[in-house]
């Protein structure tokens, strides 16, 4: 069972090869094998969204996907959100709106918000709250997070 499997995938635009056990989750692979610790573990059972990543354009919880399933896929993690020129508008808006306290939930929220705003930059508050229902935050009370995503949407629409 502990025989390692070779997986080739793409993470944040770069080709990545890794070895993992068949029972390891993508979350464990990111954090423990690839040292990409931006993606957080909250619950490890699909409830909190701290481990959110985008796989082939679809938002998922990386704790509920196996590492071996990454073969041939294209994955975006929080490390791929900012560009060399600086923070992504969503990250900027989180800072400006003080939308984080302890920060554990933040990478998941930002990746989830990115997936939404890239499809629907004019998402309204109701849509944002619905979209982010799979992300939990124990600190902020959500209001500041929702404001930040609304602001980021405005920036991304270019006004």
């Amino acid at each position: 069972m502990s025989e390692k499997i070779h997986v080739r995938t793409q993470i944040n635009g770069s080709d990545v090869d890794f070895l993992c056990e068949n029972r390891q989750s993508l979350l464990e692979v990111l954090r423990d094998v690839l040292d990409m610790t931006g993606t957080k573990e909250g619950c490890n059972d699909g409830n909190c969204g701290a481990c959110t990543v985008i796989v082939d354009g679809t938002l998922i919880d990386s704790c509920l996907m196996l590492g071996v399933e990454a073969q041939g896929k294209s994955i975006t993690t929080i490390e791929g959100v900012a560009s060399p020129d600086g923070l992504h508008p969503i990250q900027q808006a989180f800072l400006e709106n003080a939308a984080l306290q302890c920060g554990i939930c933040t990478p998941g929220f930002i990746v989830a918000a990115k997936a939404l705003l890239e499809r629907e930059p004019d998402a309204d508050e109701g849509r944002i709250r619905h979209w982010l229902a799979g992300n939990l935050c124990r600190c902020t009370g959500y209001d500041k997070i929702v404001r930040a995503v609304l602001d980021a949407g405005q920036t991304m629409r270019g006004n």
């Binding site: 059972d45 399933e69 982010l132 799979g134």
Partner: protein
């Protein structure tokens, strides 16, 4: 899979089985990812043939499909409320059904819509009406080595409509205290009900097909009085338990309320269809 018998299990989205394995609910030797099987990923929908839904198709592909939105809004209702967006990116209707939880949200919708399970195993292929599929909490009618390949939905009848809704204490991301899925077909006058199917979630050891509740609507006028009668019959069909999510009394009551609301909406949809 056949070689490992009950020590081998299929995985579609993994949103049930990975959590169960991690929780130590059971031990297995082999987990087979079925998402690579093209037939299990197919989604074909047409007015002539109805819908063929591959067992591993995740929820988001169902509710984002415009033809399905138009033809099977009752199925979309259910696919749209499984977990949050991240869960819907992986969770399949096939997995929801195979997991055979009494509170599986898609199952009453499948029963109301008259879906047929296409099952493949070492002895060949067979079909089973979805209402006969769940046999006990967490147990389905498949034998070791059998797999659910797809669900087949008949084309919606003219002047038909369906709806699924559940009661949960939160707005999203919760397990149903009770749920009701209904489908109705109206007569040509659009005032009378030709036939109806009603199914309940989370009020028995399996999802319940409340056949009598639907049958008694045949020939009745599509009005509150008829909905009330069907709701009473649905309450009679409910066999809930009391647990941390709700009491027997609350769940029986909810079965009636939800069935009435589901009927109103399904009839409204049928009038527009």
């Amino acid at each position: 899979m056949a070689e490992k018998g009950s020590r081998a299990r299929a995985m579609a989205g993994g949103t049930d089985i990975l959590v169960q394995l991690r929780g130590g609910r059971f031990k297995i030797d082999r987990l087979v990812d079925i998402k690579g099987v093209p037939e299990m990923n197919q989604l074909s929908c047409s007015t002539a043939e109805g819908l063929t839904l591959g067992a591993a198709v995740p929820c988001y592909r169902i509710y984002e499909d415009q033809t399905i939105q138009k033809m099977y809004p009752g199925l979309v209702d259910a696919a749209f409320i499984i977990g949050g967006i991240q869960i819907q990116g992986r969770a399949s209707v096939g997995g929801n059904l195979c997991n055979a939880s009494p509170s599986g949200d898609t199952i009453p919708a499948l029963i109301a819509l008259g879906a047929i399970c296409v099952i493949e195993g070492p002895k060949g292929r067979r079909t089973l009406p979805v209402e006969d599929f769940c046999v006990a909490p967490g147990k389905n009618a498949m034998e070791d080595g059998e797999l659910l390949v797809a669900l087949q939905f008949p084309p919606p009848a003219p002047r038909s409509g369906a709806h699924y809704l559940r009661f949960i204490p939160r707005n999203e991301m919760d397990i149903a205290v009770a749920g009701s899925g209904v489908s109705v077909v109206l007569d040509e006058d659009r005032q009378h009900i030709k036939s109806a199917r009603i199914s309940l979630a989370a009020v028995g050891p399996t999802p319940i097909f409340a056949r009598e509740a639907g049958d008694l609507l045949a020939g009745k006028e599509a009005n509150e009085e008829s909905f009330e009668a069907a709701a009473e019959a649905a309450k009679a069909a409910a066999r809930p338990i009391t647990d941390m999510r709700g009491t027997i009394k609350q769940r029986v009551h909810l079965s009636g309320v939800l069935t009435k609301r589901a009927l109103r909406k399904a009839v409204a949809r049928a009038k527009e269809a």
